[in-house]
Amino acid sequence: MAAEVNAPASARFGRRSPLEVLRTVFGPVFQLFLFIVGSALALSLIVVLLALMQMGSRPDILTRALTILPQVIIDGLVRGFLFATIALGYTMVYGVLEFINFAHGEIFMVGGIVGAAIGLMLFTSGMLAGVPVLLFVAIVVLAGMVVSGSLAVAVERVAYRPLRGSPRLVPLISAIGVSLVLQDVVRLIVTNTPMGFNARYHTPDFGSPIRLFEIDLGERVVPVIVSPKALVFISVALLMLIGLNYLVNATRLGKAIRATAQDRPTASLMGINVNRIISLTFLIGGALGGAAGALFGLNVGAVNPYMGFIPGLKAFTAAVLGGIGNITGAMVGGVVLGFLEAFVSSYLSLFTNGALSGAAYADIAAFSILILILIFRPSGLLGEATTQKV
């Protein structure tokens, strides 16, 4: 019997087939895609229903709602990928250390500052206009990744590792301290350089908005427009998410990260250098956050030392929404939250007839979700119910 077992074992499990790799990588990406389509459809449906309910008193409301719908979906995607890329940093660190790295918003901010600094340097040297757009994007993203990734690793070494084994509140407080220190150190730097507090993010010309398609609403034709910067943001974020899924699900290192997250002492019994894996987790999370910061600043056009705070909190909300510690969950939570925010900020004033200004209430919507989730489903959308590790 033993011999029969042998043959297929070597034939089948010597190497992983490319198909298997594709499945492990694109499984989560497909899940993410489903959530994107699902939440966009669900929210659009709600918008249509709300519009139909008000048709009696305001006959033009459906047209107005539909006119902005594609734009809202694009906005939702941008916000969603922003939250998703930052949320990954929270969730990966939580997965391995069961600790919320509240300084992660500042890691994101540093990425933005680095990008803006590069833009300014190129601008003052007069080379900016000559740099091809994609090259510029590659430079700021890579620089943001390198600086923020190394910063995150350094923060872990200095502020968290010495506290390992102490009560859980202690590293949390340390993280808040790191967050304040980073904000003010960056403020000190930017206000004493030509950048200034509210630094403009110089970029080469990204060209005019791209007209995707037009929708014919009878009385007028509405173009659906996406800004090239938003398109760059979405594409780069998507590439990073796919890359991360490959790393975590299909490589030896990724398996070591998952093993360490599931059981740290036992991982060390396998010969895994747990400290190195923890550093690596901070490196990856920090690099993703830095890239997101560089792209976010580029998209918005300006950066400042406090810009990481609110996106950081929202990304944390997204991580909790998806199930903290769960990598696919962080991405899903990010896009769902992004869509919700985009819809609230665009439609709230329309449906309340201008009584409530939507943009101001978007934050309330996001954080209400955090509270509701913590009350009703603390494990999040994709999180498993917390069970004892046996």
Binding site: A9, F13, K255, T266
Partner: protein, 238 residues
Amino acid sequence: MALLELQNVHTYYGKIHALKGISVTVEKGEIVTLIGSNGAGKSTTLRTISGLEKPRLGEVRFKNQRIDTIPPHEIVKLGIAQSPEGRRIFPRLTVLENLEMGAYLHDTNSPTYRADLERVFTLFPRLYERISQKGGTLSGGEQQMLAMGRALMTRPEVLLLDEPSMGLAPVLVEQIFEIIETINGQGMTVLLVEQNALQALAIAHRGYVLQSGEIVLADVAQALSENEMVQKAYLGME
């Protein structure tokens, strides 16, 4: 020269003095068992050897090299593997991925890796049947097999087994002990921690009896199982 040697090892958990000067030797090719009741310090001894706990006093030597000062992942590299108490399978990795983690230090594209896998599947055909199942969904016996298989994948010279029979049905216990003998027959040195003293002594060459962090008896297994004190305290004989 013993393959593995503990000399006057004292280990603490905070203020609790868990090991009070333990000296144990394991020779190449032996099965040595540590028996004793709950809390006697058996698991702590294995955790100290693997480097998960650092002794405050004393030395652990492997092939005459001091290992009590180096981190766990380096100790694995030297050739000491452990199947820990409670199995500690990675619950959300598949059976194959768990085994791959055991082979973390080795090249998984090499024929030796494949030979290692085959060896594990030959010892535990059940694991092959469950190969793509998540570790957390296995039964207790299967998890024990996986824990042992995973430890074997590190290519150890000494295998530390912490309570492999815990919580298993008698038939499975029998099977696990047979497999330990088989592995030992293939040349593996085994340090076995057990509460199930009767069966442990039946397959072991030598044994130590631990009581509140101290070794109270050390002898060849046969003599231990005939010892009156051992019979009363651990074998349930009057």
